[in-house]
Symmetry: C2
């Protein structure tokens, strides 16, 4: 009477369900490991890392509302994270010409250096966590995940 025994399922449907459970387990496992290493080894968090990554992609600066849109988290949380980054000298807020109430967040040189160091660690962690797979297997997985994703983008058809 577990998920695998729903009356309506056939073998292919059960296989896709199994695939989803494996996908979820692996990605939760890796994400948990990254959160743990950010916390224990760098006194940081995944949302903070994600905010820095978004700011790195926008050297021209980002409004809080755009930033929270990219990250799909609340404005309040993003503002708190940017405040902390600013206190730590990793980001600055600059005025938006012609809009007194808005400000843009931008990385400082120290922030850029800090992020690049963190990103190199992040890449090492991911590389270590996935090193049971050959390069060829990684490419096979990427192709299949992208194929699955294409369909996901059209998921309204299955609504």
């Amino acid at each position: 009477m577990t998920l695998q025994h729903a009356d309506t399922s056939n073998d292919e449907s059960k296989t896709r369900l199994r695939l989803w459970l494996r996908l979820l387990k692996l990605s939760s496992g890796i994400e948990g490991e990254i959160r743990r290493k950010l916390r224990d080894e760098h006194d940081s968090t995944l949302p903070r890392f994600d905010v820095m990554a978004a700011l790195m992609r926008h050297p021209e600066g980002l409004k809080m509302s755009d930033l929270s849109g990219y990250l799909k988290v609340s404005n309040g949380n993003v503002t708190g994270i940017v405040d902390r980054l600013t206190e730590d000298g990793l980001a600055v807020r600059v005025a938006v010409p012609g809009d007194r109430r808005a400000s843009l967040a931008r990385m400082t040189p120290k922030g850029i250096q800090t992020f690049e160091d963190l990103a190199a660690h992040h890449e090492d962690w991911v590389n270590g966590l996935l090193d049971g797979l050959s390069n060829h297997e990684c490419h096979t997985l990427i192709d299949l995940l992208e194929k699955a994703m294409l369909n996901k983008d059209n998921s309204d058809e299955h609504g």
Copy 2:
């Protein structure tokens, strides 16, 4: 200056990083879709679904502490969810013989029926979201994800 440009990376390391980003994107996308459908179509939530699934796997009943251990969420949250399930007649709390302070949560027949209905929908959603993949492709993915997972379980070696 994005993640892909860390100085230390070589091609294989970049491929694994790309794999991780695809994995994260697909699993977040599917999870978001499942959360949305549970909320909009069944007035439910993923933590509630997960609690019911755990209780279904333990017809003998589960203590709150065991339940929160399985789900890796706080006791308080699990207790709140079980309270709601109990109010809705989907679960009951029964005394533990010989331990006055502990109680076990168990599904009721109505709860079992409700969960089986939800689980069948859940399987249909997953099946629809992943139906861009052939059965053979799904098996290839499962094999590769399990291979990656095996390594993940030994991740302390990479600490």
